[in-house]
């Protein structure tokens, strides 16, 4: 089929799909008045029974905890897949040599950028840890804090300290952390069985709303997800950085 015919067919079917979607969207409840009892019930349960101030994190890790288990495992598998795909493109030992080459050549970034990067890494790590741990109280949680922490590592790379990146991510440490996070979440989920209630039930003490240990298993799961997301995103980003490091050697 020629490109022109494909384009015409594509535009025609897009128009049909658009008409169907507009018709479907017209049948949704009025904008601004969500129907459905779950919307009213969920914040009540979170606040009154589980003492969690942040209803969204409470739902993510408690009411809909199974979904989050699946999402976390998606992240785990995606990190695995990216690592497998990209490691096939390089040989052992090439990364260390390329990093040593880069360090010998000296950093190519401006001094101001390197200074800024060095200054910002500490606060960014602290902010990431704060966001992960305070998931139950303020906007935040495992996912956001985990990506922030991985971003702090990326800052080290962007500031030109390539060799520091290599030292900080001995591959086994990051992989172990990734697996630990995923395993911790699954173990906490199965802890319900140990305590004699259903799997994924909230088994720890609920505490008072607003304190750091409120919500039972919610902060525990938040930390587990934070560790896992940090390690997973670091693994993915460092695989891409390795490919970049090999660029000066002309490919693999």
């Amino acid at each position: 089929m020629s490109a022109r015919a494909r384009l015409v067919l594509g535009l025609g079917s897009l128009a049909g799909l658009g008409a169907l979607l507009v018709w479907a969207v017209g049948g949704l409840p009025d904008f601004g008045h969500p129907r459905g009892p779950y919307a009213d019930l969920a914040p009540r349960i979170m606040l009154d029974e589980r003492h969690v101030a942040n209803a969204v994190t409470g739902i993510t890790f408690d009411l809909r905890g199974f979904d989050t288990l699946g999402e976390e495992l998606i992240l785990f598998v995606a990190a695995l897949g990216a690592a497998v795909l990209l490691r096939a493109l390089r040989t052992e030992g090439a990364i260390e040599e390329a990093a040593a080459d880069e360090e010998r050549r000296g950093p190519g970034t401006a001094d101001a950028l390197r200074a800024l990067g060095a200054v910002l890494v500490g606060p960014m790590l602290l902010l990431g840890i704060y966001v992960v741990v305070h998931g139950a109280l303020t906007p935040g949680g495992g996912f956001q804090g985990g990506v922030l922490l991985a971003g702090a590592l990326l800052l080290v790379y962007a500031a030109g300290q390539v060799a520091a990146v290599e030292r900080v991510r001995p591959a086994s440490l990051v992989e172990v952390a990734d697996a630990l996070g995923a395993a911790a979440y699954t173990l906490v989920a199965l802890a319900g069985l140990v305590f004699g209630v259903a799997v994924m039930d909230n088994v720890l003490a609920y505490g008072t709303t607003g304190s750091l240990l409120s919500g039972g298993t919610v902060p525990v799961l938040s930390v587990a997800v934070g560790v896992e997301v940090t390690a997973g995103v670091t693994l993915i980003l460092s695989e891409f950085v390795d490919q970049m490091l090999l660029r000066s050697r002309g490919g693999d």
């Binding site: 966001v131 935040g140 980003l237 891409f240």
Partner: protein
């Protein structure tokens, strides 16, 4: 529907269209970054600070970095292949 929400929705629609219509991947990474930013402001206007935080770190930090690294790798392989071809001929 507040005025802020309407403005944000229009900004998102324009940014999305711009992202699709930019053909060069390098420029498109920048356009997609602006889409991410518009989306995070939209999420704030809809009363979803958690989602906005997530969107900022993902669409501002993780995705553009991966796209740029992948593009750099592709460009290097292209340049090496062109050098080989020129060397052979």
């Amino acid at each position: 529907m507040t005025a802020l929400q309407t403005v944000c929705l229009l900004a998102v629609a324009v940014a999305g269209t711009a992202t699709v219509l930019t053909r060069d991947p390098l420029r498109q990474a920048v356009a997609s970054g602006s889409l991410g930013l518009a989306l995070s402001v939209l999420f704030l206007a809809f009363g979803a600070p958690d989602v906005a935080l997530s969107q900022i770190v993902v669409a501002g930090v993780a995705v553009p970095v991966m796209v740029l690294l992948a593009l750099a790798k592709i460009r290097t392989v292209d340049r090496a292949a062109a050098r080989e071809d020129a060397g052979e001929r």
